[in-house]
């Protein structure tokens, strides 16, 4: 077992299902995020409250957008989202994947995933960069482009218009007049 991201503690909280009582971050297991810091047993694990607050602060996405969804960590700082409105799971689940990736919290600046942005980005009210089709195509191809942007630097939701509506497409990193596409290699396309 790897001990990545965690030191031992005393609590048995949340570990019954896996028959383990050492609260640490096990990179191959999904652990439910604690609701708040008071419930946290694994050091440095983000809380659900902190994740929701971040989405609201950064993008104006209301916490209600996550109602019916639980948040999980597998590996240090990799946050997943699971629809769990009607089928509750144990607090630790040892599987290959549980729902969908949402957010990376390992680095100083948290970074949403493309899948996450496509899922909840429709609720965003700020830090959304809408591109025309030509620029959006370059973004989808993984290119870097020079761009004027008056808003915040950092990770933005890149959106464009399709079939009569503006839809979130992916994540861009904006710094010093440059937009860097964060579209994963496997999802890049030349249109």
């Amino acid at each position: 077992m790897s001990d990545e991201g965690g030191a031992g503690g005393e609590s048995e909280h949340g570990d019954e299902a896996a028959g383990e009582d050492r609260p640490e971050n096990r990179p191959h297991r999904f652990d439910r995020l604690p609701a708040t810091a008071d419930e946290r047993t694994v050091p440095d694990r983000p809380t659900r409250a902190a994740v929701l607050e971040w989405f609201e602060e950064r993008f104006g996405i209301p916490p209600g957008a996550f109602e019916g969804y639980s948040l999980w960590e597998r590996g240090a700082g990799k946050i997943w989202v699971l629809a769990e409105a009607d089928k509750p799971e144990p607090d630790a689940v040892d599987v290959e994947a549980l729902g969908m990736t949402l957010l990376r919290t390992r680095q100083e600046y948290w970074k949403p995933t493309m899948a996450g942005v496509q899922k909840v980005g429709g609720h965003a009210t700020r830090n959304i960069l809408e591109l025309d089709d030509e620029r959006a195509a370059r973004f989808l191809a993984g290119e870097e482009q020079d761009l004027e942007w008056e808003g915040d630097w950092g990770y933005l939701i890149v959106a464009h218009e399709i079939a009569g509506g503006v839809e979130p497409l992916g994540v861009g990193l904006y710094t010093y007049g440059t937009l860097r596409s964060q579209v994963p290699k496997g999802r890049q396309r030349e249109l």
Binding site: A83, K87, E96, G99, Q118, K119
Partner: protein
Amino acid sequence: MDVLERYEPLVGDFAAFLAACERPLPSVVRVNTLRTTVERAREALAEAGLEPEPVGWHPGLFRLSGQPGANWPYAHGWLHGQEEVSAVPARVLDPRPGDVVWDATAAPGSKTTQLAALMDDSGRVVATDNNIGRIAALRSNTERLGVTNTAVTTEDARNHSLKPFAHDAYDRALVDAPCSCEGTVRKNPDTLEEWTMEHVEGVAAVQKGVLRRAVQATREGGTVVYSTCTFAPEENEAVLDYVLGEEDCRPVEMALPLEYAPGVTEWQGETYDDRLTRAARIYPHQNDTGGFFCAKLEVTG
């Protein structure tokens, strides 16, 4: 095409069957209703110049004039490239929102993501496969299509464990079994060159094991759907005949909204359970699709 000669006694219009097997298949996409409406996807496909033509028997399936992978609606996770008949088994399983469903041989995830969409991304889908490479394809499809109700397990489906989960049985299970894939000849003409009787027999043993596990893991009154993309009775009716004898289940009627032939009860000196006429054999010439087999079981114990 020599392999297909063995099916002449089963297929009504054998000349039409062979002719259909030699024609390439059109590109078909299924609209991901977790992300958009069928109407908006159709508009976006038209904007992309792909001339979407609705498939009559299934809402949200479109035949396209070009390849489905490089266009805006695909990039947004609005579409999944999926052969027409491959959309059949999830419809037959007919999962409801809130159900707990096992997709026993899930990769690359066409049916997994279709099941999730039919369930409005609620309840739970457990998607199992034993091949890491194919699991990667399954994972990328669930991510791209925004599926959040699905857990993926890497294991041999014959030994599927429910231990990681809160549920102790499934409401429904789908066994879209690995097979000799004769029915995909229109997409992969090489399939028949690799055909051997040894492979058919080997894969049939796996199919029996997976289907048994699916029946065992499904609650009484629940539904199990068994499907393949092969014409071989050894991998279809013979597998079901065996499992009917070993597990508590019975074949039930289904009404498919496309043309098909009933399952067979005799093949090369073997006889199978009479109720297997309730299964469906879909031949390529009947609906201008790939070939397919599908049966629906009710779990009785």
